[in-house]
C-alpha cells in the first residue's frame, strides 16, 4: 500500500470507530430517556415518606393514598432514565404504583424515619458515599465509604447506620477482596465502631485472625445490640455485638448476612449449601437456635428483609421475592425491576 492509501485507511478506521462510538453512546442515552416503563407499572415522581409527609403524588390523586400504610423502599431498575433511583411503593400492593425519589442508590435501607443510600460520589464520582436521608428524601449528611457497596442497614429507630463495602485493589488481575464494615451514628455522623477493631470472643475465649472479614450488620431495637457475620477463610460465623461494651461474640457458625425479625426473635440469613456462591436463605430461632431452610431453589445473594414477622423478602436478579419464614410454601414474586428492599412500617 502506498503512503497515502495507508493514511486514508487509518483516517477511515479512526473516523469510523469514533463515529460508531458516538452513535452507540448517543443511542444508549436516547434509549435511556425515551423508554417507557413496562406495562402495568405506574411510575410517578416525587416520593415522600413517613408521618407528616404528603402522600405519594400520582397523576390521579384519588387512586392511591398510602398515608399511614406501610411502604416498600427499593432501588428501581425499570430500564429507563430512572434506573437506579430510589423508589417507594405501598406495601399492600407494591405493583400498583411506584414513586421515584431524586436519589440514586446502589444499596438502600430505611427505618425509623431515616434512610441510608450508598451511591457514587467523591471526586469525578469515582468513589462511593453513604447519604443519610430523612422521610422527605432530603440528604441530611453524607460520608465517604471506601470500596464497592455491599450492604446497608439502619437501626429500627433510625439512630445508627451500618455499611459493608468490598475493598479491593485497582486491577482485576488481583482477586484480593476484603470487606469493611462500620457503624455510624447517623445523627452526628460520628463513627461508632469499625468492626475490624472490636475484640471477638468465641465460647468465652478470645478469637482472632488477621484474615477476619465482617459483613452484613442488623440492629436490635435497644440501640445497643446488633448482629453481623464474620468470615475467616471459608468459615463464617454469626456474631452478636454490643455498641456500648464494644464487643463481638460468636453465637453460631455458617451464617452470612443476618437480618433480625421485627419481633427480635429470629434471624434470617444466607448460607452456602453447595459450591462457592450457592447460597440459600435460612431462619434461625434465637431462643432454640433451631435453623429452618426457607423454600426456594435459586441461589440467593442478598441480606434478607422482613416483610412482617412471618414473611421474608429478598432481591434476586432485580426481582423482589417474598417467602414464608417457617420454611413452608414457595417464593412468590413481589415486584419486578427492583432490588435492595426495605420495609418502612406504619407505626
Amino acid at each position: 500500500m502506498r503512503r497515502r492509501t495507508r493514511l486514508a485507511v487509518l483516517a477511515a478506521v479512526v473516523a469510523g470507530c469514533m463515529g460508531a462510538a458516538v452513535v452507540y453512546v448517543g443511542l444508549s442515552v436516547a434509549r435511556s430517556h425515551k423508554s417507557s416503563p413496562p406495562p402495568g407499572v405506574h411510575v410517578v415522581s416525587g416520593a415522600t415518606l413517613g408521618p407528616g409527609a404528603s402522600p405519594i403524588r400520582t397523576k390521579d390523586a384519588s387512586s392511591v393514598d398510602t398515608e399511614g400504610d406501610s411502604k416498600l423502599l427499593f432501588v428501581s431498575m425499570i430500564p429507563d432514565r430512572t434506573a437506579g433511583s430510589l423508589a417507594v411503593a405501598p406495601l399492600s400492593d407494591p405493583t400498583s404504583i411506584r414513586a421515584i425519589a431524586g436519589l440514586r442508590c446502589v444499596r438502600v435501607y430505611y427505618a425509623g424515619g431515616r434512610g441510608l443510600c450508598l451511591t457514587r460520589g467523591g471526586i469525578l464520582n469515582t468513589g462511593y458515599v453513604a447519604k443519610v436521608f430523612d422521610s422527605s428524601f432530603h440528604v441530611e449528611r453524607q460520608y465517604s465509604v471506601p470500596g464497592l457497596p455491599s450492604r446497608a442497614r439502619v437501626s429500627p429507630d433510625g439512630r445508627f447506620g451500618a455499611t459493608t463495602m468490598f475493598v479491593q485493589g485497582d486491577s482485576y488481575s488481583n482477586g484480593n477482596f476484603s470487606t469493611r464494615t462500620s457503624i455510624v451514628d447517623l445523627e452526628t455522623g460520628k463513627l461508632v465502631a469499625d468492626l475490624e477493631k472490636l475484640p471477638v470472643t468465641r465460647n468465652g475465649q478470645p478469637f482472632s485472625n488477621q484474615n477476619f472479614n465482617f459483613w452484613g450488620v442488623t440492629f436490635a431495637r435497644d440501640d445497643d445490640h446488633f448482629y453481623a457475620s464474620l468470615g475467616s477463610g471459608s468459615d463464617t460465623y454469626l456474631l452478636e455485638g454490643s455498641m456500648r461494651d464494644r464487643t463481638l461474640k460468636v453465637l453460631t457458625e455458617q451464617v452470612e448476612c443476618p437480618s433480625l425479625s421485627p419481633d427480635g426473635k429470629r434471624i434470617a440469613f444466607k448460607r452456602i449449601v453447595g459450591d462457592a456462591g450457592d447460597w440459600r436463605l435460612f431462619v434461625l430461632d434465637l431462643a432454640t437456635m433451631k435453623v429452618t431452610r426457607l423454600a426456594g431453589d435459586d441461589p440467593i445473594d442478598d441480606q434478607a428483609e422482613w416483610l412482617d414477622d412471618d414473611h421474608v423478602v429478598y432481591g434476586n436478579d432485580n426481582v423482589l421475592w417474598v417467602v414464608p419464614a417457617d420454611g413452608s410454601g414457595q417464593p412468590r414474586k413481589l415486584l419486578s425491576h427492583a432490588f435492595s428492599p426495605a420495609v418502612s412500617r406504619a407505626s
Binding site: M1, V13, D170
Partner: protein, 422 residues
C-alpha cells in the same frame, strides 16, 4: 522496505505528545508508532479493567469469591503462551504478525462482552482470552522497539514507548467513569467504545509498523531453535539479569496490596482509589522518558536499582503511622517514579544483552520470570498478611527488598555490566 514517510505524520503527532522534539530526544518512528498502538490499546483495556469489578459485583451480582476464581486461573497459561509467542516471533522473524494476533485477540474480547450477557463462565473465558492476547504481544513488541533502536538509546526508546502506553492507562479510566456518569447503569457503551479504541490501536500497528530486524543488526539471522534458547539462558550475563530481576520481583508487593495497604494507612487513598491509580500512572507517564534518558546516560543498572529504592518509600508509607495527605502525594510520586525507573529500563537492559535473533524469546523469558516471581511474592504477601499482620508483612518485604537490591547491585557490577558505549 521501511516506509519512513508513511509514518511521519503519525510519528510527529506522537512526538509532539511526549515533547520529544523539544527535549532533543531521538527515537525511531517504529517506537513512536508502537507507542501509539499501545496508547489506544491501553485506553481500551483500562476502560474495561476499571469497570470490570463494578460490572461483575454490582451489575451481575457476582460475589467477590467468584470474582477471585475468574481471576486466579490464568497466570500460568499466560506465561507459557508468552514464551511460545516470543519464540515464534524470533523463529520466523514475524514480530509484527505475532503482535497483531495478541492485540487482535484482546480487541475481539471487547465485542465478546457485549454478546455473552450474564454468563459468568463466558466472562471468565473472555478475561482469559484478553490476558492471553496481552501475553502474546508484549515480547514481540518490545523486541521490535529494541530492533529499531541503537543500543545506546534503548533506555530512551523504551521510556518513550512506556510514556505513550501509560498515557492510555490514564485516559482509559477517565473515559470509562465519564460514560458511567452519563449512563449510570449501562455497561455496554463502555465495552463498545473500548472496542473502538482497540481497533484504532490495531489499525496503526497493521498499517504502519514493519518487521525490520535488519535495520540495526545487519548480519543475517539464523533461525531460533530450542537449543539456541537454552543457550540463551546459559549466557552468563542474561542469566545474571534473570536472577537480579527475579529476586527484586520477589520482594515486590502487587499493586493491589499496595493500594489496599495505603487505603488502611492513609485516609485520602481510601476515598478515591481509582484516582490514586490514575495519579500514579500520570507520574509514571511523565517520568518514563526522563528516566529512560537518565538510564542511557548514567547506566541502566543504577536507575533500575534506584527505582526499587523508591519502592521502599512506598513500603514505609504503608507502616508509618500518622501520615497525612502530604504523604499520599509523596507516595504517588515515588510509586510512579518506581515504575518509570524499572519497567522500560529492565527491557532496555535485557535488549542490550540479548543477541538480535533471540530478542523476543529472551524478553518473553525475562517477563515470565519476573511476573511469576511477582505472583509468588503476591501469594507470599497475602499469606504473611494473614499470619503476622500487615505491618510485619510489609517490614519483611522491605528488608527483602533491601537484600534483593544489594544482591542485584553485586550482580550488575560483577556480571551484567553492559559494554561501555560512550
Amino acid at each position: 522496505m521501511y516506509q519512513v514517510a508513511d509514518s511521519q505524520v503519525l510519528a510527529r503527532g506522537g512526538r509532539a505528545l511526549i515533547g520529544r522534539k523539544r527535549a532533543g530526544i531521538k527515537v525511531s518512528g517504529t517506537v513512536v508508532l508502537l507507542g501509539l498502538t499501545s496508547l489506544f490499546t491501553d485506553i481500551s483495556s483500562e476502560m474495561v479493567t476499571t469497570i470490570l469489578p463494578l460490572y461483575l459485583v454490582l451489575s451481575l451480582g457476582l460475589s467477590p469469591l467468584q470474582f477471585g476464581v475468574i481471576d486466579g486461573i490464568q497466570q500460568g497459561a499466560s506465561a507459557l503462551v508468552r514464551v511460545v509467542a516470543g519464540f515464534t516471533a524470533d523463529r520466523f522473524g514475524r514480530y509484527k504478525e505475532v503482535a497483531v494476533v495478541g492485540y487482535g485477540l484482546s480487541a475481539v474480547t471487547r465485542i465478546g462482552f457485549l454478546l455473552v450477557g450474564r454468563s459468568v463462565a463466558l466472562i471468565g473465558a473472555l478475561v482469559f482470552v484478553d490476558r492471553t492476547g496481552k501475553g502474546i504481544r508484549t515480547a514481540p513488541r518490545d523486541a521490535m522497539i529494541a530492533l529499531s533502536t541503537p543500543k545506546e538509546q534503548l533506555g530512551t526508546a523504551f521510556g518513550v514507548h512506556r510514556a505513550l502506553d501509560t498515557a492510555g492507562a490514564v485516559i482509559g479510566p477517565l473515559i470509562a467513569f465519564s460514560l458511567l456518569i452519563l449512563l449510570p447503569n449501562d455497561f455496554d457503551p463502555i465495552f463498545f467504545v473500548s472496542f473502538c479504541f482497540a481497533l484504532i490501536g490495531l489499525a496503526i500497528l497493521v498499517l504502519f509498523v514493519e518487521n525490520r530486524r535488519d535495520r540495526v543488526e545487519a548480519e543475517p539471522l539464523p533461525p531460533v531453535t530450542m537449543r539456541s534458547v537454552a543457550r540463551l539462558l546459559a549466557v552468563p550475563r542474561f542469566g545474571a539479569l534473570l536472577v537480579a530481576g527475579g529476586v527484586l520481583a520477589l520482594a515486590t508487593m502487587s499493586d493491589g496490596f499496595v493500594y489496599l495497604g495505603l487505603q488502611q494507612n492513609l485516609d485520602f487513598a481510601g476515598r478515591n482509589l481509582p484516582l490514586l491509580y490514575v495519579a500514579t500512572s500520570l507520574v509514571y507517564m511523565l517520568l518514563a522518558v526522563p528516566a529512560g534518558r537518565l538510564a542511557d546516560q548514567v547506566g541502566r543498572g543504577k536507575v533500575f536499582i534506584g527505582g526499587y529504592l523508591l519502592l521502599l518509600i512506598v513500603y514505609a508509607a504503608l507502616v508509618v503511622p500518622g501520615l497525612g495527605p502530604a504523604a499520599s502525594l509523596v507516595v504517588i510520586l515515588a510509586f510512579g517514579a518506581y515504575y518509570a525507573a524499572t519497567d522500560g529500563v529492565l527491557s532496555a537492559i535485557a535488549s542490550a544483552l540479548l543477541p538480535a535473533e533471540a530478542r523476543a524469546t529472551g524478553l518473553s523469558v525475562l517477563i515470565t520470570v519476573t511476573s511469576l516471581a511477582r505472583l509468588v511474592a503476591s501469594i507470599a504477601f497475602g499469606a504473611a498478611w494473614v499470619l503476622i499482620g500487615v505491618e510485619a508483612a510489609v517490614i519483611v518485604f522491605a528488608v527483602g527488598l533491601v537484600v534483593a537490591a544489594l544482591l542485584a547491585s553485586v550482580i550488575f557490577v560483577r556480571y551484567a555490566k553492559e559494554p561501555a558505549h560512550a
